[in-house]
């Protein structure tokens, strides 16, 4: 295995290939940082252009866009409170909170380094376990998926440190909002009140941009003093803080593994990778109450998690020919355009392509790190723009981004509505993280459970008889019991100390 891998490094480390990977990463970072665009859109736009390129260049260019697109969202998320891509949602919560405390450089350093580490660890997983892991992922059934997603939802309980009632309410409300619209399984409409506008439900981007970006602009205008404290960001400052991410080695490793695993599962995506890594990190953090208000650990988890999903998602695509995300579909299409069929035979028939994809991914991660650090100077100038100019410009980009995501102009109203809701939630001190987690994971859990029950003829027993789902249910129960157990343990420890 190592000989073809080294050969692929020799092939990818050619100046021309490197230049195309670098161009892909740079464009991906820019598109990833602009709400509504994202790497997926750019990959789709660039696909026809790759037809004329040699296959190694085409793959390198598209993988560069993929990696850059997932990572780019963190810059605008931290500096402007606007998640450029849905994968940056959790980073935005804690990153923008750190920026408001004048710790923007530190938040960026941690985010960029965690992205690099997450990407490279996921690359190691890709190199070592591509083939065995891909076959494991295909054996998982809907019951297993459901329990896995439930574990993420149950972890919302850990987000409830400061105000458990409001956090749980936000989580339930997020799940409820995700149910509005046309139900694909039963072909019935839920809470649409006869409106065709509501039939399509609420797409993730307008909801997130409203709840984050619009809310962020409004709360900043209500408290201008907080806006001024975002401070300047210099490359030197960011580089000097780079080591901070390594203060959390366990978190980096766990989040990268969680992200890689989530990436493996078809149709899940990098935003879920970030959410699951975030909740897992909070469940094991020493100070979980800091999550949501500017926690370094939260940024590490979110960024390592979302970047690792890219490597994870490449595994079933190249090893089995099963795309895990929309971006993987485009990568597959690029291969097919070059008369190469991804799948189990790829490693034998085209080892240069199989290992070329793997190597390009590693190179793209390193370029992503460099591009992100070097682009900070430009971003630093953006945040120095006076709020009276920046606020309308940010809102304009949000509106255009929301419309361009699905070419649906009415989505701007959805963003507006959720912006008002986000502002209300901020004013009433309702945490946003549980809302987002509920909104993102709720439909996934429901869809998987209903599909599972349909295939089992309504029999719920496989939920406890299948080893994977039984194990995950046990984890859910333990997670739910943990706050009570830890409370009792703490109480006993205090009593022992007092006695």
């Amino acid at each position: 295995m190592l000989a073809p891998l080294f050969d692929s490094f020799a092939a990818v480390l050619q100046p021309m290939v490197l230049a195309w990977v670098l161009l892909g990463v740079a464009l991906g970072v820019v598109f990833g940082a602009i709400p509504g665009l994202g790497g997926g859109m750019l990959m789709a736009l660039m696909l026809p252009a790759t037809f004329a390129m040699p296959d190694v260049l085409a793959q390198g260019f598209l993988i560069g866009i993929y990696v850059g697109g997932v990572s780019g969202g963190l810059i605008s998320g931290i500096l402007l409170g606007v998640p450029g891509a849905p994968s940056a949602i959790m980073t935005t919560i804690d990153g923008s909170a750190m920026a408001r405390k004048g710790l923007a450089a530190r938040a960026l350093s941690i985010g960029i380094m965690a992205s690099l580490v997450g990407g490279l660890l996921s690359w190691l997983v890709l190199v070592a376990l591509a083939i065995p892991l891909a076959s494991v992922a295909t054996k998982l059934q809907n019951f297993d998926y459901f329990t896995f997603v439930m574990l993420g939802i149950v972890l919302i309980a850990f987000l409830a440190a400061s105000n458990p009632i409001k956090a749980l309410m936000a989580g339930f409300f997020g799940i409820f909002i995700s149910t509005v619209g046309f139900d694909d399984i039963s072909a019935s409409e839920r809470f649409t009140f006869g409106s065709s506008f509501l039939s399509s439900g609420f797409d993730i981007l307008p909801v997130l941009l409203g709840a984050f970006a619009m809310r962020s602009v409004m709360t900043d205008l209500a408290n201008p003093s907080k806006m001024q404290s975002q401070a300047s960001v210099t490359i030197r400052e960011v580089l000097s803080e780079m080591g901070r991410a390594f203060k959390y080695p366990g978190n980096l490793l766990r989040s990268s593994l969680v992200g890689s695993f989530i990436g493996l599962l078809p149709g899940i995506g990098s935003n879920i990778g970030a959410v699951m890594s975030y909740t897992a990190a909070q469940a094991t953090a020493k100070r979980p109450e800091e999550f949501g208000s500017g926690s370094e650990e939260a940024i590490v988890a979110s960024e390592a998690g979302n970047n690792a999903t890219v490597g994870g998602a490449l595994i079933p695509m190249i090893a089995l020919g099963i795309p895990g995300s929309a971006q993987d579909v485009i990568l597959m299409a690029a291969l097919i355009l070059h008369a190469i069929t991804p799948g189990p035979l790829l490693v034998n028939e085209h080892p240069d392509i199989f290992y070329g994809v793997i190597t390009s991914y590693a190179v793209a991660n390193i370029f992503m790190f460099l591009v992100m650090v070097l682009s900070l100077n430009i971003m630093a100038k953006v945040i120095k723009t006076p709020p009276s100019i920046l606020a309308p410009v940010v809102l304009l980009f949000c509106v255009v981004g929301v419309i361009s995501a699905h070419n649906r102009i009415d989505d701007a109203w959805v963003m507006f509505g959720f912006g008002l809701l986000g502002f209300f939630m901020a004013s009433m001190r309702i945490p946003l993280a549980p809302f987002v987690i509920g909104f993102v994971l709720g439909p996934l859990a429901e869809g998987r459970l209903r599909s599972a029950l349909m295939s089992s003829g309504g029999d719920i027993l496989p939920l406890v008889t299948r080893p994977v789902s039984a194990l995950l249910i046990l984890c859910c129960v333990l997670v739910m019991l943990w706050p009570f157990v830890s409370h009792r343990l703490r109480k006993r420890r205090l009593e022992q100390r007092a006695g």
Binding site: M169, A187, P387, S388, F397, N407
Partner: protein, 151 residues
């Protein structure tokens, strides 16, 4: 007071949605049905809202607080105006009454002036420049290259 308001808003909302959940047609395609999840989350949402109202009332009794906060109207002015301006901008876009470039330029100008006033001439000049150039650039890129259906 904030807890009581939050509790009332969510209690009314969840009770209303629970009522409307009866209208969801269940054609029996799957064992769980489309009503299950909304009801599964609305019931605890209603109960938690009631708990929040009770909690908030007890807290208010113990420590009375001034509501709204003394500087509320002063701090709410800028965001409230921007919300109205953004609403008007989105209306102009969705109704397709005005070209994207014109409505966007007007939005940036009006929102900017609302936030900064007319005192700083240099800043005002920068705002006018941004308001003219940015919508043209964004409109050109999004309409021509990204094929976005902007008015």
């Amino acid at each position: 007071m904030k807890d009581i308001i939050t509790g009332i808003v969510f209690a009314v909302f969840s009770a209303a949605m629970l009522y409307f959940s009866q209208d969801i047609r269940d054609l029996g395609f799957d064992p769980l049905g489309p009503k299950f999840l909304p009801r599964f989350v609305l019931v605890p949402l209603l109960l938690l809202s009631v708990a929040l109202i009770v909690n908030g009332s007890l807290k208010l009794k113990a420590e009375p607080e001034e509501f709204p906060e003394p500087d509320f109207w002063q701090t709410a002015r800028a965001p409230a105006l921007l919300i109205v301006e953004l609403g008007a901008y989105i209306w102009a876009l969705t109704s397709r009454a005005v070209l994207f470039e014109i409505s966007s330029a007007l939005f940036i100008l009006v929102a900017g002036v609302t936030l900064m006033g007319f005192r700083d001439r240099r800043l005002l000049a920068a705002l006018v420049l941004v308001a003219i150039l940015l919508p043209i650039l964004v409109g050109y890129v999004f309409k021509t290259y990204l094929h976005v259906a902007l008015p």
